[in-house]
């Protein structure tokens, strides 16, 4: 029997993976993908709760998140492209102009 907790556990694992990836990876493309993983882990939790409580509200949020994720991917990839043209690199470590 697959319960709510399984879903939530999966969501948490996904979130953790995304977060760790975000922290340790330097490739901007991978970072964007990690963000997608993060968003989708949240989506999974929403949908799981929606099923559990039998309410539709969370589905709406999920759709919103998907729309935002799509937009974010488009914009993020656009920026990534421009950055690459600028310096021929997608390594985030090469972009540390904000260093103190």
């Amino acid at each position: 029997m697959i319960t709510l907790y399984h879903y939530l556990a999966l969501s948490a694992v996904l979130f953790g993976l995304g977060l760790v990836g975000l922290m340790i990876r330097r490739n901007l493309l991978i970072i964007l993908m990690c963000i997608e993983v993060l968003l989708n882990s949240a989506n999974l939790a929403f949908v799981a709760f929606a099923r559990y409580y039998g309410q539709m509200d969370a589905h709406v949020v999920t759709f919103f998140v998907m729309a935002v994720a799509a937009a974010e991917a488009a914009v993020g990839l656009g920026i990534l492209l421009v950055l690459y043209r600028h310096r021929q690199t997608v390594n985030a470590a090469d972009w540390k102009v904000m260093g103190g």
Binding site: M23, R25, W95, K96, M98, G99, G100
Partner: protein
């Protein structure tokens, strides 16, 4: 009782039997004209200050004639108005006052009201006439003396400003207006002592005068605060107070419990301004200024401000016998000490400066024994003869090409006859030889000392009077008699343009003052000499309520004979000894070498002050205040400490800001985790 109610005093006319001329004067005179008396010198100051600034901008001066005309016309106009007001005042019934409406309300609170107002009563009339009269003469003299100075306009501007403040001081109807004038004259004194400020010594003398005066002013201020506080706490009525003199007089019983302390504070102020022990040290140094300044400020007017103030508040001083004793003692000590120093000095202006200190001591002695009339009489005659002496000294210095050492003078009678004659007359006057001005005033002081003080004080003041005669004739012999002791070839070739002929514009004021030194005493010829002692009666309101001592004529005549004989004896001795041999003191000097050294070096008072006060003060300022408080505490801890702390903090935090996104994210996550833990902890 003196009249004038609150600040809304009006012209009081009670006597009706006036002749037509009086009435005509009366109608055309308005009390508000009194405000013009100080306004004219102020105008002169503004014009000359603008001229001086304009000259500085243009790089070359305006014609001196413009400055001269403006600067001389203004005091003369003031003198004219003062004379006019004096005529009106004379026509008023006894103890009438002229009091214009206040110019504006200066300080206005629910507790006190201090209007900016003037009063022209018998006392201020005397002072105003002396200040404007002698002041005008000295302005004329300055035109000749300062001719060709690069800062000619600036000099006249300061001189006019001084007159303005001095007139404010004597005309003000309350102590606050007086205080404005009091500080203002001190300021102008500072400007004029250090007039040639490129000479560091002279600038330093100005600074010394200013600082020493500030010490006195502090005492004055404390007294003033005390007075205002007493008035406010004593006032039970709802109406605000007007702190005018007439108000204070009519409520004098308020001050009875604190009179001693308060008057002592005021007296500290007077010792500063009027150069008494312990604050007299600035006056001899003040001779660094131009000589007409010494005549105007440091002999005739400003230094008498302290005496004016004590006389003005005499009703308070009268309630404090202890203060009066102290004043008498201080005055007497100053008179003797300064006279002793004067005997050994060789700088013509220094001798006159110490003589001024000594005479001021005399005036305080008179105040201390309860005779403000005698003190003011001496103020007036002293203004005449001492201004004459100083201006005469100025002419001598002018003729000698800035030579001030009397050992290098001599035989000047032929060279500057007018000056010499006026100088002689004034010397006779200050020595107290009848019938010259100083005799009458000094005699009145001595009489009062005899009547109201112990005998030893009378004897000591007599000794001081003798010393005065002695050193003044010493000075006279040194400067004017004998033969010329110096060939100034070394000087002449570079000062060829400067003729040693004294111009008439300098001679005339000296001559007029010399004349006043002869005639001034007749203002107050005592009754015993068949005079009517006008001066005393004119100022009788100062000691209102004090019963007059009745003196037998024989006693008065005896005292007069004693003092005259004594003054004559000392004058002739001095004349004879010094004429015969200027160095007759040489054996004495050797015999009493330590004593002579002591006197020659002014009793080392300056050195003692330097050692006891100035050095420790400078030391504390340097080590504690500068190096310690300022550099270590304020600069080190407060300024650099705080900036260093924030800099250190910034550096520490900058280490976190690596620029790697990942690091930020780690911190962000940690933050979220901490927040979550906190939240879980709460629930």
């Amino acid at each position: 009782m003196r009249i004038a109610e609150g600040c809304n005093g009006k012209l009081y006319i009670r006597g009706v039997n006036k002749n037509l001329a009086d009435i005509v004067i009366m109608i055309s005179f308005s009390n508000t004209y009194l405000y013009l008396i100080p306004a004219f010198p102020l105008l002169g100051f503004v014009v000359n200050a603008l001229l001086s600034m304009g000259a500085a901008r243009r790089g070359k001066g305006f014609p001196e004639i413009i400055s001269s005309v403006v600067a001389c016309a203004m005091p003369t106009l003031s003198f004219g108005i003062a004379l006019w007001a004096f005529c009106i005042l004379k026509g008023l019934p006894e103890n009438g006052v002229l009091q214009p409406e206040p110019l504006f309300s200066w300080i206005s609170t629910s507790l006190i009201q201090i209007p900016f107002s003037f009063v022209f009563d018998h006392l201020s009339a005397v002072m105003v006439l002396v200040v404007t009269g002698v002041g005008s003469l000295i302005h004329y003299y300055s035109v000749g003396y300062m001719k060709g100075d690069v800062s000619y306009s600036r000099y006249l501007a300061y001189l006019n400003l001084f007159l303005f403040f001095m007139l404010l001081l004597v005309l003000g109807d309350n102590l606050l207006v007086l205080f404005v004038g009091w500080e203002g004259v001190g300021l102008c004194s500072y400007f004029l002592i250090g007039f040639w400020f490129t000479d560091a010594e002279k600038a330093k003398a100005g600074k010394k005068a200013f600082v020493v005066n500030r010490i006195g002013d502090f005492g004055f201020l404390v007294g003033l605060f005390y007075l205002v506080k007493t008035c406010v706490t004593q006032n039970t009525g709802e109406a605000p107070l007007y702190l005018s003199y007439s108000f204070l007089i009519s409520h004098q019983e308020w001050f009875l419990p604190i009179a001693t302390v308060m008057t002592l504070c005021f007296f500290v102020g007077a010792t500063g301004k009027s150069a008494q022990i312990p604050l007299y040290i600035w006056l001899p140094d003040a001779m660094a200024g131009p000589t007409p300044v010494s005549a105007l400020i440091h002999a005739a007017t400003m230094v008498t401000a302290g005496i004016y103030m004590v006389a003005r508040l005499f009703f308070l001083f009268h309630m404090a016998p202890l203060t009066l004793h102290i004043i008498a003692l201080v005055g007497l000590a100053t008179a003797v000490l300064a006279a002793l120093i004067a005997i050994t000095q060789y700088d013509i202006k220094k001798v006159l400066a110490y003589s001024t200190v000594s005479q001021l001591g005399y005036m305080f002695l008179a105040l201390g024994v309860g005779a403000p009339q005698a003190a003011l009489f001496h103020v007036v005659t002293h203004a005449f003869f001492k201004a004459c002496l100083f201006l005469g000294a100025g002419s001598v210095i002018y003729a000698m090409h800035h030579e001030q050492d009397i050992r290098n003078m001599g035989g000047l009678f032929k060279k500057v006859p007018v000056t010499a004659f006026a100088f002689l007359v004034s010397t006779l006057a200050i020595a107290g030889i009848p019938p010259f001005a100083g005799f009458f005033s000094k005699d009145e002081i001595l009489l009062n000392v005899y009547l109201h003080a112990p005998l030893w004080m009378y004897v000591t003041s007599l000794v001081a009077a003798g010393l005065t005669a002695f050193y003044m004739f010493r000075l006279f012999v040194y400067v004017f008699l004998g033969h010329e002791r110096k060939t100034h070839n070394s000087h002449d070739h570079h000062e060829e343009h400067h003729s040693s002929q004294v111009p008439w514009i300098m001679d005339a004021p000296v001559a007029i003052l010399g004349l006043l030194a002869i005639l001034g005493g007749f203002l107050g010829v005592p009754e015993v000499l068949h005079g009517s002692n006008h001066f005393h009666h004119w100022l009788s309101f100062l000691t209102e309520g004090v019963e007059a001592h009745h003196v037998s004529h024989s006693l008065e005549l005896t005292l007069m004979a004693v003092s005259t004989g004594w003054a004559l004896l000392l004058s002739l001795t001095s004349l004879k000894l010094y004429s015969a041999n200027l160095n007759w003191t040489a054996p004495l000097k050797n015999k009493f070498a330590p004593l002579y050294q002591l006197m020659q070096n002014k009793f080392y008072v300056d050195e003692v002050y330097t050692f006891l006060i100035v050095k420790p003060l400078l030391g504390i300022s340097r080590v504690v205040l500068w190096k310690g408080a300022d550099q270590k505490l304020i600069d080190g801890v407060l300024v650099h400490g705080w900036s260093g702390l924030s800099q250190f903090g910034a550096q520490a935090l900058a280490f976190l800001q690596t620029g790697y996104l990942g690091h930020y994210l780690v911190l962000l996550t940690l933050g979220v985790v901490v927040l979550l833990v906190c939240l879980l902890g709460i629930f």
